[in-house]
């Protein structure tokens, strides 16, 4: 994994500080060309991994990268699935069971569809999870996806419920069928790490909030530090600036001292910010 991963919150009007800023970003990035031009700036600056949700609009970015292989020989996607609002809205529309069948493929892939209906009937989540992953991965055909993540909303939902088998099913399916590494995003890193450890998933890729002030490190900042210091995992830090509460230099200097940090994911809307982040990371992680 690259040290710096480029996130996508800014492209979808997600801003934890202000709804006004979020709306301004939505307006700017509703034209996919503006998204691609920021991704191009990142690529030119050497930030070549795009960690993105499986939002429908990401398919347009995939199309663009697929259409220009010479321009993006090293462009990597880290898909994060599912895009939760898509499913939440479907549950409102169709009810819980209706939503599941709604997302089952209807494109003539009889085998997949059969696996889905059998899975639904037998309450076998293995078939359902595999199909949902396959459906989400469709847009990424023909582009590089070396790591595939399960999003925090679903990871933490399953974690709280104690449906641990789902993690193993996702893990094995990604390894076996996508020649990719499975990753997990969570807001509850210590609890997730222990759960994955209990399932025999070794050295997992876990993306969670890791920042100097311990912002949103649920389960306790001390436990986060203990696990990072003593356990074997490939940690990806997000919310490194704690939603703007920590200055970039201070945040990255602190992060560079934390053991087991493989990567840091960040969002930016300008080449200047991408470059200054890249330079800080280069300085402290050298």
């Amino acid at each position: 994994m690259d040290k710096l991963l480029f996130g996508d919150n800014q492209f979808f009007g997600i801003n934890h500080m202000s709804e006004e800023k979020a709306r301004a970003q939505s307006m700017r990035f509703q034209n996919i060309e503006n998204v691609i031009s920021v991704l191009d700036a990142a690529y030119d600056e050497g930030v070549k991994t795009f960690m993105c949700t499986t939002h429908d609009r990401i398919a347009l970015v995939c199309d663009h990268v697929r259409a220009n292989p010479d321009k993006y020989p090293d462009f990597k996607f880290f898909p994060c699935m599912p895009y939760a609002h898509k499913y939440a809205n479907a549950v409102t529309d169709h009810g819980m069971m209706g939503a599941l069948t709604h997302f089952m493929p209807d494109d003539g892939l009889l085998k997949t569809a059969l696996r889905g209906s059998v899975s639904l009937a037998t309450k076998d989540i293995e078939g359902i999870i595999k199909i949902l992953v396959d459906v989400e991965m469709k847009m990424f055909q023909g582009v590089q996806t070396p790591v595939i993540f399960l999003q925090n909303v679903i990871v933490d939902l399953l974690l709280g419920m104690g449906m641990k088998d789902a993690f193993k099913i996702f893990h094995d399916h990604v390894l076996e069928n996508y020649d990719a590494e499975p990753g997990f995003i969570t807001m509850n890193m210590p609890m997730l790490f222990e759960t994955l450890d209990g399932l025999g998933i070794e050295n997992p890729i876990i993306c969670s909030n890791i920042n100097k002030i311990g912002f949103r490190t649920c389960g306790g900042f001390d436990r986060y530090k203990e696990i990072l210091e003593n356990e074997k995992l490939r940690a990806i830090a997000m919310s490194v600036y704690a939603s703007g509460a920590i200055a970039p230099r201070e945040a990255i200097e602190w992060l560079s001292q934390v053991p087991n940090i493989e990567s840091m994911v960040f969002g930016a809307s300008s080449r200047t910010n991408i470059r200054s982040t890249r330079e800080l990371v280069g300085e402290y992680f050298a």
Binding site: S26, V91, L159, M161
Partner: protein, 358 residues
């Protein structure tokens, strides 16, 4: 471990289950009349599961229940639980008939039981800060409030679920408008009048998709409620309260609380004259387990803490949720007394059904 029953494995029920189940102090027993989710969760988590609420109450030695069934079913289930002496967390809206809300609030109070209703906005840092500033008197006498909520729930005509039927407790009023109204109740108590209430469908056949009303208090305070759950320009539900006072104003949403003070005030020494902005990210306390916003966890852990006798001070008790039910009922009455317009939501008679039949 304290045993807590959870009934209703829909969208909110599953979220509550995950949050409550992550609390090491509680063992969650689940219940749902439709078997699919129940069997699947039981199969993969090994937790005890019931199809019948009555059987669960009868067989399990529960300390409390979490009720997340369609709104129409809240009242009978809450009553059954209270009569058994159980503490109750109930999803919002509390009851569709405010007389029932009041009776159940009284029953719970008489029995000294702990109650909480899922109005999670009272656990959002920015809205808590807004309450603190109002109570300090720093913005003077409040003259007017604008209470808004918008989001993309119903965006086209579609098939029916209980959420699209007002008789079942569905619709924009009960689902969306209840939240800003509940915040108004928290800040200013119950309004005395509702006027010019519009409950109109946009895409729904059997319920309202937009809600507008003027609420007034006898002391002269007024509020406009403006809510629409058929607005695709919002990524998700967005609730905003804007308060005008004689000495300043406050705007708050999920993210931030912006306060304008015409002059400094001794009760708020950290606030200066002019604009002051506080962010929810700074105002919010960490939760032990996070699923979808600290407020969802905080309201549940506050309830569980109170149940197990480990502190906890649930702020949304039945009495407070009854205020919101009464305010909404007043708005419905006002709407019904107005001349019918073309897009007025149809008035649907309550169906007589057992609460196990769906």
């Amino acid at each position: 471990m304290t045993k807590i029953g959870l009934v209703g494995l829909g969208k909110m029920g599953i979220s509550h289950f995950s949050i409550a189940n992550a609390d090491p102090r509680a063992e969650i027993i689940i219940c749902d009349a439709s078997g699919y989710m129940l069997d699947t969760i039981k199969k993969y988590t090994g937790c005890t599961a019931y199809k019948s609420f009555d059987t669960m109450l009868e067989k399990e030695d529960l300390a409390a229940v979490i009720i997340a069934t369609p709104s129409r079913l809240h009242a009978p289930m809450v009553r059954a639980a209270l009569e058994k002496g159980l503490h109750v967390f109930c999803e919002k809206p509390f009851c569709l008939d405010p007389a029932e809300s009041a009776a159940l609030a009284k029953l719970a109070a008489d029995k000294g039981l702990i109650t909480q209703v899922g109005y999670h906005y009272r656990y959002v840092g920015a809205f808590q800060e807004m309450k603190r500033i109002i109570d300090s008197g720093a913005i003077g006498t409040v003259t007017h409030i604008l209470a808004e909520a918008y989001g993309p729930v119903i965006l086209k005509p579609k098939g029916k679920t209980w959420r699209t039927d007002r008789a079942e407790g569905g619709g924009c009023l009960y689902d969306y408008a209840a939240h800003p109204i509940n915040l108004l109740n928290w800040y200013f108590g119950e309004p005395d009048r509702a006027d010019g209430t519009i409950l109109a469908p946009i895409f729904s056949a059997d319920t309202d998709d937009e809600v507008y009303s003027t609420l007034t208090w006898n002391d002269g305070t007024s509020a406009h409620v403006s809510v629409n759950w058929s607005d695709e320009s919002y990524r998700k539900m967005s609730t905003k309260i804007s308060i005008t006072g004689t000495k300043g104003r406050i705007n708050a949403d999920r993210q931030e609380c912006q306060t304008y003070l015409r002059e400094t005030n001794d009760t708020l020494p950290e606030y200066e004259q002019g604009w002051n902005v506080r962010y929810t990210t700074d105002l919010t306390q960490e939760v032990a387990f996070y699923l979808r916003g600290e407020e969802y966890s905080a309201q549940m852990y506050d309830f569980i803490s109170a149940v197990v006798g480990d502190g906890g001070n649930p702020v949304n008790d039945f009495a407070s949720a009854t205020q919101t039910d009464r305010t909404m009922a007043m708005m419905i009455t006002d709407h019904q007394s107005a001349p019918t317009t073309k897009r007025a939501a149809p008035l649907v008679a309550k169906k007589k059904r057992s609460w196990l039949g769906r």
